[in-house]
Symmetry: C2
Subunit: 470 residues, 2 copies
C-alpha cells in the first residue's frame, strides 16, 4: 500500500463521509481515518438514534414496553452502523484506516492504529472532520454509572424511572420530550435562563408551557451542587434557593459540545484554530494552510449534519473541480429541533440583522397557529407560531422562526424563498392546501400586505429614509 493519497479525510462522520464518498466516486484515492465508529455522531450517537427514539416515543401507547423501544433504538442504530461500515470497507478508491490521526507536517499525518503500530500518510489535500464530543461537567458525588451523555444514552437497555437532564438546548429538549413520552419521570435543569437559548426568546415562551403540559419539571438558572448516592438525591442551587430532586436514576449531561481538535497536532501543520470557534476557514472550508480543509462541527458555522454535508459537498467541488465556479458564500443553513412541538429557523440571526439594518427598516410579522389558522383550531394547538423579520415595503424575508408540529418540514419553504429572494408579494399569490399549518405562510404574507398597502406612502418614506441608514 502506498502511503500517499489524493486526499486524507480525518473523521468518518456525515461530513467526512460526504467528502470521502464524493472524491472516491470521482476516482480519487482517499485515505479515510476514523478512531471510533463509521458514521460518526449522526449514525451512532446523534440524529439517527435520537430520531428513532423520538419516533418510537410518538407512537408509544399505554401497555407497550418502553425498554423494548429503547432496545429497538440500539438495534436499528447498530444495523445502520454495520451497513455503513461494510459499505466504506468495500468502497473502491477508499482506504479505511482505523486509528488516531496527528499532523506531523502540513500535508503529513501519523496514525496510531487501533490494532497497534503507527503509520505515516501524506496527501495533496487533508480534510479535518473530526467532529465534537459532549462537554462534561462533573457533579460531586454522582457516580459514573448514573451519568449519561448522548454517547451512552442510546445503549440504555431499560427506561430510567426518573431521568434528570442537565441542559436546556437542542439535545436536552429533544430527549426530555421523548423519554417523558416513553413514561419516564423527567426533570431538566440548566444554567440558562430559558430553554433553547440559541433561538429568539419567543421560542422559549412557546415551549415552556409545552414542557410543563407534558409534565416535565424544569429549573432554569440552576446548577447542581451534589448527588447523594444513599438517597439518590440531586441537589441544585437556583440563586439563593436550594432544591432537592429525589429518586434520580440517571443524569443526562447535555450542556454543549467540545470540538475534537486538541490532539490533532494542528500546530505542526501550521493550521490556525482555537478551542472556541474551531478551525479558521474561508467560505470554501479551506484553512490558512492551502490544501487543508475543515468541515462540520470543527468549523465556526456548522453544528448540524445537514450543514456538515453541505460543506462537504463544497469541499468536494473545490478539490475535484477547482476550475468550476462555486458560489462565494456558503448556502444558508436552516436549523431544526425535534421537540414537541418542533422548532426550526433559517436566515439571519437577530445580531446579524441589527448589524446590517436600521431597526426602522425591519417589520416583524407573527402568525399564531392557534389564533390565525384553522388547523391550529382543529388540532387544539395552544403554542406555536411563524415569526418572520422582513424588510418593510419590499417584503424581502431576512429571518423566519417556526414553532409547530411540522416546523422542520415547513422551514424549507423559507430556505427556498430567502435563497431565491422571493418577496412576500409573490408568496401572497400562492395557494396553500387547507387546512394545513403551511396556510399560516399565507397569513404572514396577508398581514404584511394589510400593514403595507393601506400605508404605502408612509412605508415608502420609511424605506427610503432607513434603507441605507446603517
Amino acid at each position: 500500500m502506498s502511503n500517499h493519497f489524493h486526499t486524507i479525510v480525518i473523521g468518518a462522520g456525515s461530513g467526512g463521509m460526504t467528502v470521502a464518498v464524493g472524491l472516491a466516486g470521482l476516482g480519487k484515492q482517499v485515505a479515510f481515518v476514523e478512531a471510533q465508529h463509521i458514521g460518526g455522531d449522526c449514525t451512532n450517537v446523534g440524529c439517527v438514534p435520537s430520531k428513532t427514539v423520538i419516533d418510537l416515543a410518538k407512537k408509544f401507547k399505554p401497555g407497550m414496553n418502553p425498554d423494548e423501544a429503547l432496545r429497538e433504538v440500539t438495534r436499528k442504530r447498530n444495523a445502520l452502523r454495520e451497513k455503513e461500515t461494510e459499505e466504506v470497507r468495500h468502497m473502491p478508491n477508499v482506504t479505511l484506516i482505523e486509528g488516531w490521526a496527528k499532523f506531523t507536517a502540513p500535508k503529513v499525518i501519523e496514525v496510531a492504529s487501533k490494532a497497534g503500530g503507527m503509520q505515516k500518510l501524506s496527501a495533496e489535500n487533508i480534510v479535518i472532520s473530526t467532529g465534537a464530543r459532549p462537554r462534561m461537567i462533573e457533579i460531586p458525588g454522582l457516580p459514573r454509572e448514573r451519568t449519561l451523555t448522548n454517547e451512552t444514552l442510546f445503549d440504555l437497555r431499560d427506561l430510567p424511572k426518573h431521568l434528570v437532564v442537565m441542559g436546556a438546548g437542542i439535545i436536552a429538549l429533544e430527549m426530555a420530550f421523548a423519554f417523558r413520552k416513553l413514561g419516564a419521570k423527567v426533570t431538566i435543569f440548566a444554567l440558562d435562563k430559558r430553554p433553547l437559548m440559541t433561538y429568539i426568546p419567543e421560542v422559549a415562551e412557546a415551549m415552556q408551557p409545552e414542557i410543563e403540559k407534558k409534565g416535565i419539571v424544569s429549573y432554569y438558572g440552576a446548577t447542581a451542587t451534589g448527588f447523594d448516592q444513599a438517597t439518590h438525591t440531586l441537589t441544585l442551587k437556583q440563586g439563593e434557593k436550594e432544591i432537592q430532586i429525589q429518586d434520580v436514576d440517571k443524569v443526562l449531561v447535555a450542556v454543549g459540545r467540545v470540538k475534537n481538535l486538541e490532539s490533532l497536532g494542528l500546530e505542526q501543520a501550521g493550521v490556525k484554530w482555537d478551542a472556541g470557534t474551531g478551525v479558521q476557514v474561508n467560505s470554501f472550508g479551506e484553512s490558512n494552510v492551502k490544501g487543508v480543509y475543515a468541515i462540520g462541527d470543527v468549523t465556526p458555522t456548522s453544528a448540524f449534519t445537514h450543514s456538515a454535508n453541505a460543506q462537504g459537498r463544497r469541499v468536494v467541488q473545490c478539490i475535484a473541480f477547482p476550475f468550476l465556479p462555486l458560489a462565494k458564500k456558503e448556502p444558508i443553513f436552516p436549523n431544526a429541533t425535534f421537540s414537541d412541538p418542533e422548532v426550526a429557523n433559517v436566515g439571519l440571526t437577530q445580531k446579524q440583522i441589527a448589524e446590517k439594518y436600521h431597526p426602522q427598516l425591519i417589520k416583524r410579522i407573527r402568525v399564531d397557529f392557534k389564533d390565525h389558522t384553522d388547523r391550529g383550531y382543529t388540532d387544539g394547538v395552544e403554542n406555536g407560531f411563524i415569526i418572520a423579520d422582513v424588510i418593510r415595503l419590499t417584503g424581502r424575508i431576512l429571518h423566519v422562526t417556526i414553532v409547530g408540529a411540522s416546523a422542520s418540514e415547513m422551514i424549507s419553504f423559507f430556505t427556498l424563498a430567502i435563497s431565491q429572494k422571493i418577496s412576500l408579494y409573490k408568496i401572497y399569490r400562492l395557494v396553500y392546501p387547507y387546512p394545513t399549518f403551511s396556510s399560516g405562510i399565507l397569513k404572514v404574507a396577508d398581514f404584511f400586505m394589510r400593514e403595507t398597502l393601506p400605508n404605502i406612502r408612509k412605508e415608502l418614506g420609511a424605506f427610503l429614509k432607513y434603507r441605507f441608514a446603517k
Copy 2:
C-alpha cells in the same frame, strides 16, 4: 332596507365568505344569501370537523372513549359555526339573508326566506358560490338511519362498531383511516379499480399496503347489491363474485359530489352551465354574463376550500379594483389528502403533460423515503415517495406528487418552486434540515444531477430534438 346591492353573494361557504368579507371590508354593500349554515361545507361538514376527527384519532390511545372524541368533534364544529355566524351577522356592510336564491334576470334574484316570504334583490355583481353536496347512490334495503354522508357523519354521537365506506376517494380514505384509529372496524368498497383514482397510480400502490396494515378491508371494482336489515349484512358484487359483509352498523356514502346549481334558475340569467363541469367561467371567475361570477365547487377547476378562497380573492380584486392588473392565469392549486400517510400533489396533470410535451422531453424522478432518506429509516416508513416530472436538461418542474407523513406541508415548497420557475439546479444548492422528509427534496435534485451531468451531451441533444416536438 334597500333591495339593491353592490354585490350579492349566493352561498356562505369559504369561497363566498372570502368575497363577502373582502368586499364589505372595502365598503361595498353586500347581500349574503345562505340557505343552510354559515361556513358552508368546510366549517360544518368538511375540512374543519374532518381534520378535528383525524387529529383526535391520531392522539387516540387505548383506554380512551371514542364516543367522547366524536362528541368533541361536534362541539368544536358547533362552536366555530356559532362564532362565524355571529361575525357575519354583525359585519358592517353585510346583509345576511337566510333563504333559497333563484335568478329571475341576469342581475336579479328572488329569495325564498327560511322564515317564509319572498324578496327580490338586485345587484351590480352576483357571485355564485353555492358549493356541492354528496352524490347519493341508494343501496336496496339500506335504511336511512344507517346511511351517512359527510353531511351527517359529524353528528354521530357514538362510534359505529363496523363502518362501511362506499367510495375510495379523498373523503372516503380520510374517514376510513380516522374511524379505524378510533377503534371501529372499517370496510371500504368502490367501483374504482384502485384507491385515490384522481392521483397518479403510484399513489394507490403506496396507499393500498397502508390501508391493509391498518386493518381496513377493501374491495375495488365492487358495487352494493343490497342490505339485509335482519342480519345487518351488506352484499357486494365484484365481477362475478358475491361478497357478504357482516354486522354492518353504518354505511358512509362518499362517491363524489354534485354541484348545487340546478335550482338557481341560471337559465333566467342566461348563465351557461352544465351539471358535470359547472358554470363556465373565465380565469377571473366571470361567467358568460358580465358581472355574474362563480367560484369554488360550482366551477370546473376548484374542489377545495383553498382553491375556492383563492378564486374568491381574485373575484374581489376583479370587482373592487377592475383597473389593477391581475395575473391572467389562475394560480396553481395544490391538492392534499389527510390520510395516513398523507398525499399531496401540485402542478400539471399527466394528461396536461402529455398534451403539451413530447414524452422524451420529460424525466420522471422518484425518491422513496424508505430507501433514500434517513428519516424514512428512523421512522420505519415502508411506503411513501416524492415523484417529480421535470423537463430534461433544464430541470424545470412540471408536476410533483408526495405520499408521506407531512406531504400536505411539504407540497408548498413545490408550489413555490413551480410558480417561480425554480429549477432543480437551484434546489440542489439548498440545505435541508437533517433528518427530515424534506431532505428527500435534495435527493430529487441529486438524482436529476446524477442522470444529467455525466450525460450532458445526450441530454442536450434530446432536449433540442424534443423541446418543440409537440
